[in-house]
Amino acid sequence: MDAYAPQKKERVFGDVVLSVDDISLSFGGVQALANISFGVREHQVLAIIGPNGAGKSSMLNVINGFYHPQQGTITYKGETRRQMKPHQAARQGVARTFQNIALFKGMSTLDNIMTGRNTMMHRNLLWQALHVGPARKEELEHREFVENIIDFLEIEHIRKTPVGRLPYGLQKRVELGRALAAQPELLLLDEPMAGMNLEEKEDMSRFILDVNDEFGTTIVLIEHDMGVVMDISDHVVVLDYGRKLADGSPDEVRSNQEVIDAYLGVAHD
């Protein structure tokens, strides 16, 4: 088999698409992030790691505009900003998933993923009330797109199941589907594999790599499982108590003394 095995191509990255410069964030005196800077290049998979409370989720929240840092700037696609609303970030092509699943519990898988396309659907209320012509056409076009995602994530069988009834692993997958529906250029994944068994983790890793590969999506992810991080990321940023400990390729980070020290102090799975 090896003779004909598919050849993994040399990974090629574009320019820096997202740059985080000197970000500090605090909540009523508690410093969550302190002078964090790093850059993400187009088509890269970047992992943010660090112990609990290191400020990883806060970092994602800053990137997509949910938290407003007291200091520092975010430059995304050449545009520098300090304050913006999350829905504006979404419209600029940033999508994300959440550490604690944030699906719309009362809706089906299909409808959840369809909400990911809401920013692209424009027919107004009157058209929708009549459900004719352009409104119907628009709805069907987007449904077709969403069906591709459903197929991609292999969740056909739960298409019409209310997400509240799904097991955890599938909910995570639906959430990824919802983020993908927006055709993001930058995808933020907050612990996409937390609480999964080995098989589910493998599936999820495959989906993440496929997304990166097939659609060229730039990915920033937070993950605890070091095996997974080392396997799928091109670049790793290590946070510890709000500061940046290290920043480099998985191999560099693994051999960084400071990281080793920080991690030896903390029990890790």
Binding site: F27, G28, S57, N61, F66, F98, Q99, N100, A102
Partner: protein, 311 residues
């Protein structure tokens, strides 16, 4: 132009010209506010301990007053009637816990809210079925002569009401701070699991809270009943406690008291000095508008913590 003058000029001119009258209005408002606080207190107790937005608090006020008056009409001495009414309110609390709350324990908040509306319908109907729907006079012999303090006229009854309310709050404070049950109640508000570890079953706690809320309702019922007569409109007075709640926060006892004072005073002052500009009777909605405007600037209420949203 005339309208603007009526809003922005005339009232202030009047306030400055007749300061004594203004103070009388303010004090009258504050004293009425105390009674709003009483009703609001009942809401807060239950919301704090069980997360239930108890819409039936107003109905409990009416029911308690009706029962008291009804018993007295049957010739019972006031103290016996009072004791019996207290017993009835405790019985009611236990029944509500057994029949309603326990069955709905894990439902969404809105469902529990609806159940309390159902309960309020039931209590209104039940009270009137038993005691009839005529306006009844409640006379516990509280004096109501006007008194004068430094030129300001105050009704004696209002003073009594304020003092009663004040002592009730004090008693409650002691109850919550010093007794084991009181501490358990506070624990429940923070964390149901933690409360269980105190060793008091949740259902007992709920029954107690509803009993206490019933007693607070009884006090409010006596006050309002003496003032307005015991009748169906008492339940509407209870609605006035709602803006107090938004203002003070659903879980804060001091909030309920201070909110009540603010609403009572604001309402009176607005009615007396600005009412004319709007054609009168702005009492109906002023409290809500006041609370609403307030909320726009401070969504967490007077005493709530700033909400940090997490995802």
């Amino acid at each position: 132009m005339e309208f603007l003058t009526a809003i922005f000029v005339t009232p202030f001119v009047e306030i400055v010209s007749y300061p004594i009258f203004f103070f009388e209005v303010v004090i009258g408002g504050l004293l009425a506010g105390v009674m709003y606080s009483l009703v609001a207190l009942g809401f807060v107790l239950i919301f704090k301990a069980s997360g239930v937005f108890n819409f039936a608090q107003g109905a409990m006020v009416l029911f308690a007053a009706l029962t008291l008056v009804g018993l007295m009409e049957h010739g019972l001495p006031w103290w016996l009637a009072l004791l019996l009414t207290i017993a009835v309110m405790v019985l009611l609390a236990i029944t509500v816990e057994k029949v309603v709350l326990r069955k709905l324990v894990n439902q969404e908040a809105i469902i529990l809210f609806m159940a309390t509306i159902g309960l309020s319908y039931f209590l209104d109907g039940f009270g009137q079925t038993i005691w009839g729907s005529d306006v009844k006079v409640l006379d516990l012999g509280i004096p109501s002569a006007p008194l004068e303090f430094g030129g300001i006229l105050v009704n004696e009854f209002d003073i009594v009401a304020a003092v009663s309310a004040g002592s009730l709050v004090a008693v409650l404070a002691v109850f919550f701070q010093k007794t084991r049950i009181g501490r358990a109640l506070r624990a429940v508000a923070d964390d149901h699991q933690a409360a269980l570890s105190v060793g008091i079953p949740l259902k007992t706690i709920w029954a107690i809270v509803w009993s206490v809320a019933g007693l607070v309702g009884l006090v409010a019922g006596i006050m309002w009943g003496t003032k307005l007569g015991v009748q169906f409109t008492l339940t509407l007075v209870a609605l006035k406690a709602l803006p107090v709640l938004i203002l003070g926060g659903f879980t804060s006892i001091p909030g309920a008291i201070i909110g009540g004072l603010i609403i009572g005073m604001g309402e009176k002052v607005a009615e007396v000095f600005w009412g004319a500009a709007f054609g009168g009777a702005i009492e109906d909605w002023f409290a809500y508008m006041l609370a609403l405007v307030f909320l726009l600037f401070r969504p967490q209420g007077l005493f709530g913590d700033k909400i940090i949203e997490r995802v």
